[in-house]
């Protein structure tokens, strides 16, 4: 069945066959396979198309760094684009499709881009598509026309628009030692730290712990490395101070040793269990971290190095040893270092024929020659691959004599027949997390690699991550790192003994073979060695310019394997050593993370809902709710068939005619308590509160430090040292922070506590000519007549056996009362009030009617106190005490804040009897075609049932002086123009006779 699957070997489960499809073709694999290994086993070599030239591509790697083999995984309508086939664990029913090709992967029309070749060189966009200077396509039009097609040709996979039905979660974790990576180094570190009794978390991005031990075929303590690793994990599982997280990529190293990791909980399953998240986002705060993230093998840059069938050497070792899959039958290797020899032997042992090992080096060690002999491979030392052959699959390669020092190719090219070419260009430590955490990497000339910087946060490194490429070193460093992270010293017991393949960790400094043909550096983005040299010619020589000009390293793999070759080519062009060229900046995430996981528990639930105590009553009684910040408030209580306007007009009218009741529980409420409470309020408010009698309330205004208006509300004096402050709904949190800041930082000597009691009290405002009568009908324990409860007076009593506090104050301009009860009794009291109001025709009203009545009264709210207006602008200067300083008093008279042409609050009356619009502007001269010279704008408007007119509040330049004059609304956005009269903002009952009773 599987042309390339060995009979035995690997850690796949041959007893469990898995069925899946790729581009609609059904295949089978085994449990434990990745999509890449399973497809390779089925003889599939073509996996994808490159970004720019749409070249056919196979798998290059066996892991997270894969640039070529990107697929889209489908779960019904839900799409997950751009997933590396090397990272997809197959499950029954998996549906994967290839991307960026039309009509099919094998026949892609955009492959024609390859003919564009030299024209489509790096940066070509900047030089063209500017279009004509005149005519209909001038300016940006021509570019936008071209862009339309360019955009469609670009892009990899297609995102879905169907909402993802699965859940994502966050987990906050704390530990003493976080170990990242579970190769030999990570395992040793985790064990050492765990043995010290430390809280340890071990994260491994692969499904299996063990890292290279899973495929290296070395022997540790006399057993195969993979078994040794499994045993080590078994031991760790026994510790209850250890958390093991497989399939968990640590992707971000943030300040304060906070690390972010993504656990792929159910991607490998057919379906998640009940309540199980697809991804879990771990925010790990670690006392210290062990970075044991290993290393990446680098490709070599030579013509045709991107042909399907060309693969990294260690990747083939993984396919052979972990999955029992051979990437080819006749395999050639091309290397600049010793590690490929081990790969050769591994593949030989797995059953492939090794046709040649092409090594750029002249001198090879006896050990390597011995390995080659064991692999029955011909060695071509001081040779290089100069071309590959074949169409969408490799059929052979050409080699030539190569001089490592001069880079010269000599002699005749020899053809070698092979269906797979493995390459090894040396290894780069996986230093991403360390670099994210702070400092920049340091070049090591011997290793030809960037090594991790000195720690800027609390981490220690171990193993290949530090450039120590042997397992013995990884084991020793791992244990030391684990101990040091645990704050312990000394290692009494002996270290495990490793029998590994010999090898020199230092590669030859060869990155590119310069021969005719396209040599790829960044595979996904089709950046060639020539592109790098073009960037050099055009002056884009900084590595960061190189990256941005050519897009080298900007693809989904973020240059994990291509960066070093790219900058080595630039260094050569510049004639500078690599460290002077530097490397581009590493950024989170280490590998791409799902946006769902980052939103985590807030996916589908962005913000909590804030509900008043009477919320359910409102819903049950026909309220249409309005979201105000996090709160929900009734907008109207519409009757069948009513429009919004009909409803609010009815509600407002009924209130003014008889009585209405509104839920005001959302008003910010702050308990201000303590011996200095009155003094504090005097400093905070523009007006005086120390003179307020107990049992009385006062309207107050606050300014910001810069002298502009901040918030307003009433404050009730409940006791000598006990005030209840109310704020606007929107500003409750801000006012609280403002008060706390002054108490804690500026005036710590004041003995005052401030506490948010918004949620303690349910509030109902009842107003209208019959409001008092309704109260009288239901309140016990106190009278509510004018003498007992004068304007701004407060009384305590009971309604329906529940204690209440009643303050007589008015926003609607009617005789009105605010009734406060414990929130748990809110609905009870509300219903009692409504019951008592029945005989009077009491209506419930919502925000619209509330707004209407406040506009009629000319009261200000957030639309007018918009952070740009002063007390004077709002005609609240009468509240600015001259007897005392207060917050903002010193700043409020600066020249810009008292200028006569400032926007000031006015009222407007529509003279054409048509509705006005919020946000419409005011002009002195109407010009519908070409509106200009705005003198202000409407902040709030309504149809006023009391006046029988369409009215508005507005902020108008020099507004007060314009009372009685005519102007126009100019609302080009909604095509509404018409005459208005500018009047005082106090439209209705200006002397307040109604509320004073």
């Amino acid at each position: 069945m599987s042309p390339r699957r060995a009979e035995t070997g690997g850690r796949i489960d041959r007893l469990r066959t898995i069925r899946f499809t790729f581009d609609g073709t059904p295949y089978t694999g085994y449990a434990g396979d990745t999509l890449a290994s399973a497809l390779l086993a089925n003889g599939v070599t073509l996996f994808g198309r490159s970004f720019k030239y749409h070249r056919p591509r196979g798998v290059l790697t066996a892991g997270v760094e894969e640039p070529n083999a990107l697929v889209t995984v489908l779960r019904g309508e839900v799409r997950e684009p751009n997933i590396a086939a090397t990272m997809v664990e197959i499950y029954d029913g998996l549906v994967a499709v290839s991307q960026n090709r039309f009509p099919s992967l094998a026949w892609d029309v955009n492959a024609i881009n390859q003919l564009g070749g030299k024209i489509l060189s790096a940066g070509f966009y900047y030089k063209t598509f500017m279009g004509p200077v005149i005519g209909p396509l001038k300016g940006t039009r021509f570019w936008m026309f071209c862009e339309h097609f360019i955009r469609r040709a670009a892009g990899l996979g297609r995102a879905g628009t169907t909402a993802d039905p699965e859940r994502y979660e966050r987990m906050n974790a704390f530990c003493d030692v976080l170990v990242v990576g579970s190769g030999p180094a990570g395992l040793m570190a985790a064990r050492a730290a765990a043995d010290q009794g430390q809280r340890v978390i071990l994260c491994e991005l692969e499904p299996n712990f063990g890292g290279s031990a899973n495929w290296s075929r070395e022997t540790i303590d006399g057993t195969p490395a993979a078994d040794w690793a499994a045993r080590a994990i078994g031991q760790l599982e026994g510790h209850d101070n250890v958390r093991l997280l497989p399939r968990t990529t640590v992707w971000g190293y943030y300040d304060g040793n906070t690390l972010a990791a993504l656990e792929r909980v159910t991607d490998h399953k057919e379906a998640p269990a009940r309540g199980e998240p697809r991804h879990r986002y771990w925010a790990i705060r670690a006392r210290s971290v062990v970075l044991a993230t290993g290393s990446f093998e680098r490709p070599l840059v030579f013509p045709g190095n991107d042909r399907p069938g060309v693969m990294l050497a260690h990747a083939s070792e993984r396919y052979a040893n972990e999955y029992g899959v051979l990437p080819g039958d006749r395999i050639a290797l091309f290397t600049n270092n010793d590690s490929a020899y081990r790969s050769a032997l591994a593949l030989k042992n797995a059953g492939a024929a090794i046709v040649a090992i092409i090594d750029v080096r002249q001198e090879l060690s006896g050990e390597m020659r011995k390995l080659a002999t064991e692999a029955e491979a011909e060695i071509l030392s001081a040779h290089a691959v100069v071309a590959t052959e074949g169409g969408k699959a490799l059929s052979g390669l050409k080699v030539q004599r190569f001089d490592m020092v001069s880079g010269a190719l000599t002699g005749d090219a020899r053809s070698i027949h092979a269906d797979c070419l493995l390459m090894s260009g040396g290894w780069s430590p996986t230093i991403h997390l360390a670099s994210q955490a702070g400092a920049s990497a340091e070049w090591d000339a011997a290793r030809q690699a960037f090594l991790p910087p000195r720690p800027t946060q609390k981490w220690v490194g171990a193993g290949a991550f530090t450039g120590s490429f042997s397992t013995a070193e990884a084991i020793a460093e791992g244990r030391t790192a684990g101990l040091s992270a645990a704050g312990a010293t000394g290692a009494p017991t002996a270290l495990p003994v490793v029998e590994g393949a010999p090898g020199d960790p230092d590669p030859a400094p060869v990155f590119e073979i310069k021969a005719k043909g396209k040599s790829f550096v960044d595979f996904q983005h089709d950046v060639t060695a020539e592109d790098v040299r073009l960037a050099h010619r055009e002056g884009f020589v900084s590595v960061e310019h190189l990256k941005r000009y050519t897009t080298l390293g900007m693809a989904t793999d973020q240059g994990k394997s291509s960066n070093v070759p790219g900058l080595a080519i630039m260094a050569e062009a510049l004639g500078k050593p690599i460290p002077e060229v530097g490397t581009t900046r590493f950024r989170p995430p280490y590998s791409a993370v799902s946006i769902g996981s980052l939103a985590a528990e807030r996916f589908g639930d962005l913000k909590p809902e804030r509900l008043t105590p009477m919320h359910d009553w409102h819903i049950a009684n026909g309220a249409t709710m309005y979201s105000a910040g996090l709160w929900y408030r009734p907008m109207i209580y519409g009757l069948a068939g009513e429009t919004i306007e009909q409803a609010y007009v009815r509600e407002a009218k009924a209130t003014r005619d008889s009585a209405g009741i509104v839920d005001v529980s959302t008003l910010g409420k702050i308990a201000v308590q303590g011996p200095d409470a009155a003094e504090f309020l005097d400093r905070v408010y523009t007006n005086m509160f120390s003179t307020l009698a107990v049992g009385k309330a006062r309207y107050g205004l606050m300014l910001r430090e810069d002298g502009l208006a901040f918030d307003d509300g009433t404050t009730w004096r409940l006791g000598e040292q006990d005030f209840l402050m109310t704020t606007t709904t929107a500003n409750a949190g801000k006012v609280m922070q403002h008060l706390e800041y002054f108490l804690d930082v500026i005036w710590p000597e004041l003995k005052v506590t401030v506490t948010s009691v918004t949620d303690e009290w349910a509030g109902a405002a009842i107003g209208g000519p019959n409001a008092r009568a309704i109260l009288a009908a239901c309140v016990k324990g106190t009278a509510v007549d004018n003498a007992t409860l004068p304007f701004m007076g407060i009384v305590r009593g009971e309604i329906a056996d529940v204690p209440v506090m009643i303050c007589r104050l008015s926003f609607s301009g009617e005789m009105a009362f605010e009734v406060y009860s414990g929130a748990g009794y809110g609905t009870h009291v509300w219903e009692a009030l409504i019951g008592a109001g029945k005989p009077f025709g009491l209506v419930t009203y919502g925000l619209e009617a509330l707004g209407t009545m406040r506009i009629e009264k000319g009261h200000v709210t957030g639309a007018e106190i918009d952070g740009r207006t002063t007390a004077r602008d709002l005609h609240l200067d009468w509240m600015l005490s001259k007897k005392k300083p207060f917050i903002g008093s010193a700043m409020m008279d600066r020249e810009g804040l008292i200028a006569p042409d400032r926007l000031q609050l006015v009222g407007l009356v529509s003279l054409d009897n048509r509705p006005l619009n919020g946000g419409a502007h005011i002009v002195e001269e109407l010009d519908e075609a070409n509106p200009h010279d705005s003198i202000g704008h409407i902040t709030a408007c309504c149809y006023s049932p009391a006046l029988g007119k369409h009215i508005a509040l507005a902020l108008v330049s020099g507004g007060k002086a314009r009372h009685g004059t005519r102007a126009f609304v100019s609302d080009p956005l909604r095509n509404r123009f018409g005459p208005i009269e500018i009047v005082s903002n106090h439209f209705y009952d200006p002397d307040g006779s109604r509320m004073h009773g």
């Binding site: 300040d255 705060r285 800041y741």
Partner: protein, 97 residues
């Protein structure tokens, strides 16, 4: 970033609200020195390096803290209550050892 609240211990930055430059001196409430007021309200030290700042532990105990934090590395070298005698309240973090 973690900020150590003297009351609550080290907490994630998500629990805190930044209240800016801690070097600003508010003039006496009755002061008419407009320059001093302007300087207090608008002018900020904005150093590259250690910065003395006020943070509120708004998602925790709600105390205001005086924090010395490096604006280049985000490393915090000290934190303490902003209330009262700042110097006395400030405490070196043992976590730095």
């Amino acid at each position: 970033m973690l900020i150590t609240c003297p009351y609550c211990g080290p907490r994630d930055v998500i629990e805190f609200t930044y209240q800016g430059d801690g070097n600003r001196q508010r003039p006496q409430p009755a002061s008419q020195d407009l320059d001093a007021w302007n300087a207090y309200v608008y002018d900020r030290l904005n150093p590259a390096g250690d910065h003395n700042e006020i943070w509120q532990h708004s998602g925790g105990c709600r105390a205001h803290l005086r924090v010395v934090r490096n604006t280049l590395t985000h490393e915090i070298s000290s934190s303490g209550f902003a209330r009262g005698d700042h110097k006395a309240a400030r405490h070196k973090l043992e976590a730095k050892s």
